[in-house]
């Protein structure tokens, strides 16, 4: 099953993204997952087995091809691996990856962020100082820096985000988890032609390639229009950014995969196993 956890301040921001989703979606206003699981960006997927063991740790996975040119990540490989795990318990080799712990600054950044959101809820202007402190402590952490943008009335697709994104790429895309498979340099040759390998900007430190940016802006605008239609509000009054999210799409895709796979094959498989295996309590 899928358990979605939104690192968001308000359920109202999340609801438009979860229409039609039947599995649980939880609201993590204080970023508990960012502390407990060292989540540093979204979407992050963790595979947890029946006994509560982490079968495959944090990984950056997406639900659709929509942002492929921007992120270089395709969903199909991950979905196939999930199917295989659900069907036979087989884990991909990267499941053994060990995720480094948060360092002191990253821990303190989460605390500063928590103070900031608390002060913001109390209407305290000093919240801004604490958001700034958090960003200084963990400048490459999306759950600290980008999550703070809408809380300070900044668009998470605004100028500040593009500056941050360029810094993050220049720093080698730091992430607490298995990196997005499309971002591994050895995979670049497998990409269809005509797509920009994002290492170009990376190596030269030039920041965001113009084409990537225009593609993202195009897709963002399209998503805003779609979101506005879905929410039945005029486009110009829509705040826009909740519908930009790619991460929710991973929920939808994974949800349909798991429902389809868990119901049928696992029911068939358990019978022969039960005959030969030890009695179960």
């Amino acid at each position: 099953m899928v358990i979605g956890v939104a690192l968001d301040e308000s359920a109202d921001d999340v609801r438009p993204l979860t229409e039609g989703i039947s599995f649980p979606v939880l609201l993590d206003r204080d970023h508990v997952l960012a502390e407990l699981y060292a989540v540093s960006n979204v979407p992050t997927v963790v595979w947890i087995d029946e006994d509560g063991a982490i079968a495959r740790p944090n990984s950056a996975e997406v639900g659709t091809d929509m942002f492929f040119e921007f992120t270089g990540v395709r969903p199909d490989e991950h979905l196939d691996r999930v199917r295989e795990w659900v069907r036979s318990g087989t884990l991909p080799a990267d499941a053994a990856t060990e995720i480094p712990d948060l360092n002191v600054d990253e821990i303190e950044a989460r605390l500063a962020f928590r103070i900031a959101v608390h002060l913001r809820r109390c209407g305290e202007p000093s919240a801004a100082d604490w958001f700034a402190t958090a960003a200084e402590l963990a400048p490459m952490d999306f759950t600290v820096r980008r999550a703070a943008m809408p809380l300070q009335d900044l668009s998470p697709f605004g100028e500040q985000f593009f500056e941050f994104y360029a810094e993050w790429k220049k720093a080698g895309r730091p992430y607490h988890g298995i990196p997005a498979s499309g971002n591994e340099p050895q995979r670049l040759s497998q990409r269809p032609s005509g797509l920009i390998p994002d290492t170009t900007a990376n190596q030269r430190g030039r920041g965001l390639a113009a084409r990537e940016r225009s593609e993202l802006e195009r897709v963002s605008a399209q998503r805003t229009r779609e979101g506005a239609q879905r929410l039945k509000v005029p486009e110009e009054t829509s705040i826009g950014w909740p519908t930009h999210s790619t991460s929710v799409q991973v929920l939808m895709r994974l949800g349909s995969v798991l429902v389809a796979q868990v119901r049928v094959p696992s029911a068939k498989r358990t019978r022969p196993m039960a005959r030969v295996g030890p009695a179960r309590s």
């Binding site: 099953m1 899928v2 358990i3 956890v5 939104a6 690192l7 359920a11 921001d13 999340v14 993204l17 649980p24 939880l26 609201l27 993590d28 204080d30 508990v32 997952l33 960012a34 502390e35 407990l36 699981y37 060292a38 979204v42 979407p43 992050t44 997927v45 963790v46 595979w47 947890i48 087995d49 029946e50 006994d51 509560g52 982490i54 079968a55 740790p57 999930v82 795990w85 060990e98 712990d101 002191v104 821990i107 303190e108 605390l111 500063a112 103070i115 608390h118 002060l119 305290e124 000093s126 999550a147 943008m149 809408p150 998470p156 950014w241 999210s245 991460s247 991973v250 929920l251 994974l254």
Partner: protein, 135 residues
């Protein structure tokens, strides 16, 4: 005694206490309520487990230094002293159990209708935990 707001990972608590410079001083009862550990002559104790600390080092009069006690049990803290607000992290052991020990730490969070759910309540099934956001 005034109150201090303690921002815990899952909740915020108002406890009797006060801040002096970088210290957050609380009574023993509040220490237990916040950290789940008690200060005893043999150290900070929880059930049968004790972490050796010198009791006198944590005591300021009748009050306990909450931040020093937190540090001793692997909990980081940050103080917003002008607002009597202190944030406490999850115990570092809990996260290293997850990252090195591969045990998925439980959490309790509300769903979008405000009803509390936990990771554990879905035990016995393969689970994909998907952290996402609207931003």
């Amino acid at each position: 005694m005034s109150t201090v707001t303690v921002l815990m990972p899952h909740e915020s608590l108002e406890v009797d206490g006060h801040c002096v410079d970088d210290l957050v001083l609380v009574d023993r009862e509040s220490l237990h309520g916040v950290l789940g550990w008690d200060l005893k002559p043999q150290g900070l104790c929880r059930e049968s487990e004790c972490i050796p600390v010198t009791e006198i080092d944590l005591l300021h009069g009748d009050c306990v230094d909450l931040r020093a006690a937190a540090t001793a049990v692997g909990v980081s803290s940050m103080l917003a002293d002008d607002t009597d607000l202190v944030a406490l992290s999850v115990p570092s052991q809990t996260r290293s159990d997850a990252l090195s020990g591969r045990r998925a730490p439980n959490f309790v969070l509300p769903d979008l209708d405000g009803e509390d759910r936990s990771l554990e309540q879905f035990a016995g099934r393969k689970r994909l935990l998907v952290a996402f956001a609207s931003w």
